[in-house]
């Protein structure tokens, strides 16, 4: 044990430790849910609706039931009394309309991909073959597909509800007493100032984690064990128990190695429910693993909003008000937190700026498409996109540099802590510092000069420079605030630290990593806190029988909430060890100090390592009277505030005006995420986040045809960028430590995604603004860019060359007729 103590290190926090997780992942020693094989295991295949909206008139399962090695076929009718409704944990208004959400449709399907029957067989291949034999008769119903039409109740997604409007949610700074009256501000600006009115489209995206979702349910034994490729083992356990009428204590959920989530695995899924019901009925372990096309079609989607925005300013560019009117497509059902996703953006449209008046209105709308829910950033990318696009438009109106108008309006570093027009308190930040650093790294002035040269010479390749000075609110979240927003749970996190007699330390966290590197970062934190070796810390998570308590991983919360719980638990260990050490050292506890993993008696050379105290506590032969023989400690931490990372992102793109092709030339970001535990892990979070945001700007869109079938239901058509589509990034940091947690950290998981989308679109628009373009609808494909450039031609120009995937062109046209007029002809 002393050997262990000699390796004691300090200064772990801040080190670019290589990850502990890697060894098993690079050698294939992995535990993905789909790897699990159990004796007698049965396999599920789903029969899914090909129609967006239809009545199920009959289901004939006889042929499927008779097929080789088929054990059972379940329909909605079979399970209608036990399946309940999949949960909606965030009803945003008391009168929110939400249709019941069966895991297996009973008499009607509301989107293409919905499960209508489940085939259980001895092998996955036999289950899939038999699924083809299930004969379902449908009577097709008119489908509500276009968001704006659906908002007008033109066609009803759920006729029984009588409307597609699910909930209307509003925040008004005058009513809340946090700011002025926005309508007055806009009225005044119409007289003597500037009013910018725009409508932007947030296209529908698909999280597209690389590991398809998979679930195994083993009903043998006292507890029913559920393995799931999920971000939320604890929430899943609680909700399965609540909905399916099983005692929570009889369910054990394990999230083994999970291959990415990005919000897409923050869900309680019909597939999990169906597998649970099948296993419970048949008494055998059951497994379901989705195919990629099922994943893209039936795993929840993200974004999908129309944003109507009105910004008012004085003639010198001081913003006086912002009004936001959103339509948000919920898809066919109001899912776990789907209704609340736009509300997560409600307090972020004002971003880093000192707007005096603000109003946010959001109408959530049901349609006959796959339901939407959290996708990396959830609500905040939409907000950041809108305001960062608008600030560019304001700069153009004023004829000033886009960074200048931002600086005029942003919160100065000496004004922190700052209470925003939404009533949030931003604890720390320094927008000037991040921007100065980013400009320097980018070579901002030289690139502007090059842009001018290319403009002047009429170069067919034009340069565009895009800016995004973002902030976001993450670290979800103070429980009281969640309560005030009608969210169904709290936002605390739990941690335990167990001191083993050998001096090793076991850390249990309620956060549930799926690629974020918690095992490494948590080890660094505990190594510093307890003065033990990084290697001697083992982090356990993702199994409700081991990590019995937690609220899981999403919303950039693990470090700022879970990390703080860990700090508190570790500090309790030291507190518990102190009287024991004092007793063993024959000193008074008041004379002890703890540093570098050692209790020392002040002014002497007497001391004892915490590992030695752990062994003595385990032996329990000589403890002070009345002291329990344990150093193990728990902490449950409820955050006092959100976390507000910020940063300045600068992007340069080259646009070939003859083809509409976009080439990213340079991307610089300087993020202020407070103190950094592991710079290597942070860089990975930033890079991955950037590419997901860039992908929204340039590549990705979930496209449906007029019948409501997802056309982009494979990686051939849903364009997740490849290595060849992306570039290397220049990233750096400035540091304003957070004042709301001990380590001074801020969330980073979503920052890149939130910031990068508007930076890229601003760059695209900037490159072709002189053609009279003031918007290009996302994704900014070459076809759309080309059309935008030529929108003002006098009948000139050759017709757009066909896009690589023709349906994107069709969708393009469909979207314009649906109201995206800005795209076609914006610059009036």
């Amino acid at each position: 044990m002393t050997a262990t103590q000699e390796r004691t290190s300090s200064g772990e926090v801040g080190r670019d430790r290589r990850r502990k997780e890697d060894q098993r992942l690079i050698t294939g020693r992995t535990r993905w849910t789909d790897n699990i094989q159990l004796p007698g295991m049965l396999h599920l295949a789903m029969v899914r609706s090909p129609f967006a909206h239809a009545r199920i008139t009959s289901i004939d399962t006889s042929e499927a039931k008779a097929a080789t090695n088929v054990v059972a076929v379940l329909t909605g009718e079979d399970v209608k009394d036990e399946q309940g409704s999949l949960p909606n944990a965030w009803p945003i208004t008391p009168d929110q309309k939400a249709p019941p959400h069966p895991s297996i449709a009973v008499d009607r399907v509301a989107f293409a991909g919905e499960i209508v029957a489940v085939v259980v067989a001895r092998s996955a291949a036999e289950a899939r073959d038999a699924a083809e034999l299930v004969d379902v008769d449908y009577e097709e119903l008119p489908a509500a597909l276009d968001l704006k039409d659906a908002a007008n109740d033109t066609t009803l997604a759920h006729p029984d509800l009588g409307t597609n409007k699910s909930a209307f949610w509003k925040f008004d700074s005058a009513e809340a007493g946090t700011g002025g009256n926005v309508d007055e501000a806009i009225e005044k600006a119409r007289g003597d100032g500037i009013v910018i009115e725009r409508e932007y489209r947030q296209q529908r995206l698909i999280p597209a984690f690389m590991e398809p979702r998979s679930v195994v349910v083993d009903p043998t034994g006292e507890q029913i064990t559920v393995w799931s490729a999920t971000q939320i083992p604890h929430i899943l356990r609680f909700l399965m128990a609540a909905v399916l009428g099983v005692s929570e204590a009889k369910i054990r959920v394990i999230a083994p190695d999970v291959g990415g989530g990005f919000g897409g695995k923050l869900q309680t899924t019909p597939e999990e429910w169906a597998t649970f019901m099948a296993a419970r009925r048949l008494g055998k372990p059951c497994k379901y693993t989705e195919t990629r096309s099922e994943s893209l079609m039936a795993g929840h989607h993200g974004r999908d909003q129309w944003q109507k925005l009105t910004l008012s300013a004085t003639k010198d560019g001081t913003v006086t008000g912002l009004k936001v009117e959103l339509l948000a497509d919920m898809g066919a059902y109001i899912s776990l937190v789907g209704g609340g996703v736009p509300v997560l953006g409600a307090f972020m449209f004002n971003a880093i700026y000192k707007f005096p008046a603000y109003q946010f209105n959001c109408q959530t709308v049901l349609t006959n498409k796959t339901w939407t829910d959290a996708y990396r950033g959830a609500g905040r990318p939409e907000a950041t996109f809108a305001i960062e696009r608008l600030m560019d438009e304001l700069a153009v109106e004023l004829g000033v540099d886009p960074l200048e108008v931002r600086e005029k309006n942003w919160i100065k570093h000496e004004e922190f802590p700052f209470i925003t027009v939404c009533g949030l308190e931003y604890d720390s930040g320094n927008y000037e510092a991040a921007t100065a650093k980013a400009k320097e790294m980018f070579g901002y002035d030289e690139l502007r000069a090059e842009q001018q040269r290319r403009r002047d010479s009429g170069d067919p390749v034009q340069l565009g420079i895009g800016v995004s000075t973002f902030t976001e609110m993450c670290g979800l979240a103070p429980s009281r605030v969640l309560g005030s927003l009608d969210y169904g749970a709290g936002g605390w996190e739990h941690a335990s630290v167990r001191m083993l007699p050998t001096g090793k330390v076991e850390v249990i966290t309620g956060a549930s990593a799926h690629g974020q590197g918690h095992e490494t970062a948590w080890s660094q934190i505990v190594a510093d806190r307890l003065g033990v070796a990084f290697e001697d810390v083992e982090v356990l998570h993702g199994d409700t029988q081991i990590a019995h308590k937690g609220l899981d991983t999403y919303g950039s919360r693990s470090l700022v909430v879970g990390g703080e719980a860990l700090v508190k638990a570790a500090d309790k260990v030291v507190e518990k060890a102190k009287p024991i050490a004092a007793h063993l050292l024959e000193a008074s506890a008041d004379d002890l100090e703890f540093s570098g993993g050692k209790f020392s008696v002040k002014g002497t050379d007497k001391g004892m390592a915490i590992g030695e105290v752990a062994l003595a506590t385990f032996a329990a032969h000589n403890l002070p009277d009345g002291v329990e023989p344990s150093l193990d400690s728990d902490a449950t931490y409820d955050p006092v505030n959100f976390s507000f990372p910020h940063g300045t992102h600068l992007c340069a793109v080259e646009i070939d005006t003859e083809t509409g092709g976009v080439k990213m030339r340079k991307y610089v970001c300087v993020d202020d995420i407070g103190n950094i535990v592991n710079p290597l892990i942070v860089s990975g979070q930033v890079h991955g986040g950037l590419v997901q945001g860039i992908a929204q700007a340039l590549f990705e869109e979930a496209v449906h045809d007029e019948a409501g079938t997802l056309v982009s239901a494979s990686f051939v058509d849903y364009l997740v960028p490849t290595a060849a589509d992306t570039i290397s990034f220049d990233t750096a940091h400035t540091t304003s430590p957070s004042l709301t947690n001990t380590l001074g950290t801020k969330g980073v998981g979503e920052a890149g995604t939130i910031a990068s989308t508007p930076a890229v679109v601003n760059a695209v628009v900037d490159a072709i603004r002189h053609f009279g373009v003031d918007d290009v609808q996302m994704p900014c494909t070459p076809a759309r860019i080309w059309k935008a450039i030529h929108a003002h031609d006098q009948g000139g120009g050759t017709p757009t060359p066909g896009d690589a995937a023709p349906h994107f062109d069709e969708q393009d046209v469909a979207d314009r007729t649906a109201g995206a007029d800005d795209t076609a002809g914006g610059a009036q």
Binding site: R18, R19, E21, D22, Q23, R24, L25, I26, T27, G28, R29, T30, W32, D34, N35, Q37, A125, A208, F209, M210, E211, P212, D257, V258, G259, G260, F262, T291, R292, S293, H514, G515, Q516, G517, L680, I681, S683, G684, H687, G688, G689, L690, V691, Q692, S714, F715, V716, V720, T722, A723, A724, T726, S728, F729, G752
Partner: protein, 154 residues
């Protein structure tokens, strides 16, 4: 059922397989080589990449019977005597993985790329990995890892 004999990661196997069984399913379900994974059903993601006779192949795009008489290497067979392959080391060193789901395929493809071109440019690396999707890393550190393994990362 068809009888096949294959060498996988140095060990010989003889099995009766259904003619329609994909190599990736044979590896995972029959041999327990679960280090190789499936990410799609259209041969687009590359998560299933292995080597057959030393060349990278998407194992979801090949039948088990086609591997009869051939030698397959998966990510599990790369380390020799407990010593990681230089590309595995570089992935660890450069933080080229997060969730790790794409990693087996990425590593196998990167090795193939470096076998063909020991000193690739950044662009050659990016093109060479085009058939392998990663949703976590943004590719930045994967490119760096390949450069590091090639000895060319300065």
């Amino acid at each position: 059922m068809t009888k096949i004999e294959v060498t996988v990661d140095g060990a010989k196997y003889a099995d009766d397989v259904e003619p329609r069984m994909l190599l990736v399913h044979y590896l995972r379900e029959r041999l327990g080589k679960t280090g190789t994974v499936v990410g799609c059903d259209t041969s687009n993601c590359g998560a299933c990449t292995v080597h057959v006779d030393g060349r990278s192949v998407k194992s979801c795009n090949m039948l088990a019977v086609q591997a009869d008489g051939h030698e397959v290497t998966t990510v599990e067979g790369l380390a020799q005597d407990g010593e990681l392959h230089p590309v595995q080391k570089a992935f660890h060193e450069c933080h080229a993985l997060q969730c790790g789901y794409c990693t087996p395929g990425m590593i196998m493809q990167s090795i193939d790329l470096l076998n063909d071109n020991p000193n690739p440019s950044e662009e050659e690396i990016r093109t060479g990995l085009e058939g392998n999707l990663c949703r976590c890393t943004g590719y930045h550190n994967i490119v760096k890892a390949v450069q590091t393994a090639a000895g060319g990362a300065q």
